[in-house]
């Protein structure tokens, strides 16, 4: 019974999401709303502002650098927690 309810729930979820996707701006068109002045600014001024020819690295490490700082602390926290759980001898000095 529970499995049936779960299947119905997921099929309903997929249908709702597909309805939403149907209405979104079509794929790959140059005049999509997300190809607006923000992304054009990045492409034009990435080398001037950040000096990086790889625009994606320019965005990650300079325009939106705060994201990457918090995200490397995500990695750091994940390693600390796995140490917390799985380290056999518990304390750090053997």
């Amino acid at each position: 019974m529970r499995k049936l309810a779960a299947i119905i729930l997921t099929v309903g979820l997929i249908l709702i999401l597909l309805l939403g996707v149907q209405e979104l701006p079509s794929f790959g068109k140059p005049d999509n709303p997300d190809n607006n002045e923000v992304s054009r600014y990045y492409i034009e001024n990435a080398t001037k502002d950040t000096g990086a020819t790889n625009i994606v690295t320019g965005i990650i490490l300079d325009y939106r650098a705060f994201d990457t700082f918090v995200e490397s602390s995500v990695l750091f926290t994940a390693s600390i927690i796995v140490i917390l759980i799985l380290k056999k001898n518990g304390n750090k000095t053997e």
């Binding site: 709303p33 923000v38 325009y63 650098a65 705060f66 600390i80 304390n91």
Partner: protein, 489 residues
């Protein structure tokens, strides 16, 4: 003006002081670092609040690039109040845990425990301050990992089971939030909340279904993380099996930051005129009121005291969602005020209960009979907190219930007053037996020696400060609500 950078400095101080801790072996130094960084955070957020009171809200760009290109902080009245609340409550909880944590987790894990607390509070402050959706998502992720970490630090069977359930449900929630951000980005092409609002105003007629879906994705995603009623199943196990100081942080602070993000998304990214066209607010209203009733009903049947208080968290979050669902500025202001009142009260309750369990050694309600005689100070503080929960006039609990009733009359949804009354009665039904069995009853006090198990005063000071702050919030509730009200838009 350098004061504008204080919120960012607070978060950086908390993160960088957390990164030093794994290298330090001795627990005392780690505790002092954690206390010092949290105290500095409190001072910085106090000065930011005075700056906001004097000069009004301000935007602070991070790095060299302004709003749509780079990331931005928005510090308004709500963010200033919540900044003070979060740093003050976490300072008190860390101060309490300095004494009580050695008895709960093994000594080598203490430095990692304080690392996780610092990173958790830093990420919650980030969720509050940021004005950028994807930045809020990354902070949510750090907050989820750190909050799962502080539950599992106590390495017992039911801890691990509760943490895994919590982790899977909050991963589901953050997946839905990321999907909501993807939908909004594909419609507006912006990630900054104020720019999203500008874009959405001009474009929401073309994509009605996509906006409805992204609204529901945000509500469900953030609802899972902030224990909205049907999605709260992870909360009782997680909060009751965690160490007492981390369950105080979890129920007082972690739930609030995600609800505040929901408010920011609903009322700032989408704006009042867009969400009133969709039934989202009514759904939140219904879920909030059902949560208020059912949360208290579940709490009545619990045997362990920590699960009773965890379920009462679900009920109190129902009040907050009710405030959001009313759809008026006053409603949201009361929801934020209730978050402030509930955070202070609930952390005091959890710390007091932690002290009781530590001294008596039993988690069951039956074990805490006659506790009033053995630990008079702690149970007196517990009594004050419970009175605020039930809604005794002078305390913040009553202020938010009273104003919620006024706000619902304004929106002429009279049924809500009935729901508030019923849930207050239910609150009383499960809080008063604990107090009555604690203080009165012949057979409870039979062989109890007066003050035999009471904790030393210096360990009770943090709870005393929290109760004092609660009473202060109760007295000045009118001014706090007005201050919050003109900070919403």
């Amino acid at each position: 003006m350098i004061i504008k950078s204080f919120p960012l400095v607070t978060i950086l101080v908390l993160f960088i002081s957390a990164f030093i801790m794994p290298l330090i072996k001795d627990g005392k130094l780690v505790k002092t670092i954690s206390l010092a960084s949290m105290f500095l955070g409190l001072i910085l957020s106090l000065t930011t609040a005075f700056y906001v009171i004097k000069y009004g809200k301000f935007y602070y760009r991070i790095g060299h690039f302004s709003a749509p290109m780079g990331i931005e902080f928005y510090i308004g009245n709500i963010e200033a109040v919540m900044g003070i609340l979060f740093t003050f409550v976490s300072l008190m909880i860390i101060w309490y845990s300095v004494y009580s944590i050695d008895r709960e987790i093994i000594s080598s894990k203490i430095s990692l425990y304080y690392l996780l607390i610092n990173i958790l509070i830093g990420s919650l402050l980030g969720v509050i301050f940021t004005n950028d959706l994807f930045n809020a998502f990354v902070f949510i992720e750090v907050g989820t990992l750190a909050s799962c970490g502080i539950i599992v630090v106590k390495d017992k069977k039911d801890n691990i089971k509760a943490t895994l359930k919590y982790l899977i449900m909050s991963c589901l929630g953050s997946g839905l939030v990321l999907m909501g951000i993807a939908f909004i980005y594909s419609i507006t092409g912006q990630l900054n909340i104020t720019f999203i609002h500008k874009e959405l105003l001009s474009v929401y007629h073309q994509y009605p279904r996509a906006i409805l879906i992204s609204l529901s994705l945000f509500t469900v995603g953030l609802g899972v993380k902030s224990a909205m009623f049907p999605l709260h199943t992870w909360l009782p196990d997680a909060h009751s099996s965690a160490p007492s100081s981390s369950s105080a942080i979890l129920s007082a602070l972690v739930l609030k930051a995600f609800v505040l993000l929901l408010i920011k998304v609903l009322y700032r990214a989408f704006g009042m005129d867009i969400i009133t066209e969709f039934p989202v607010l009514n759904i939140i209203l219904i879920l909030g009121s059902v949560g208020m009733i059912m949360g208290s009903v579940f709490a009545i049947f619990q045997r362990q005291i920590k699960r009773v208080i965890a379920y009462s968290s679900v009920a109190q979050m129902g009040y907050v969602f009710l405030g959001i669902g009313l759809g008026t500025d006053l409603g949201v202001a009361i929801a934020v005020f209730h978050m402030v009142g509930h955070a202070v009260t609930k952390s005091a309750l959890f710390l007091a209960v932690g002290a009781m369990i530590e001294k008596t050694g039993s988690k069951e309600l039956k074990g805490l009979r006659g506790i009033g005689k053995e630990m008079p100070a702690t149970s007196a503080l517990f009594l004050l907190g419970a009175l605020s929960m039930v809604g005794i006039p002078v305390l913040p609990g009553f202020a938010s219930k009273w104003n919620l009733a006024l706000a619902s009359i304004e929106v002429d949804k009279i049924l809500i007053i009935g729901i508030i009354l019923v849930s207050s009665l239910l609150n009383a039904v499960y809080y008063f037996p604990i107090i009555i069995n604690g203080f009165f009853g012949e057979e409870n006090l039979k062989d109890k020696i007066y003050k035999s198990k009471s904790k030393p005063i210096k360990e009770l000071l943090p709870i005393f400060c929290l109760i004092f702050a609660m009473i202060y919030a109760g007295f000045s509730s009118g001014s706090i609500i007005n201050f919050i009200k003109n900070g919403i838009v």
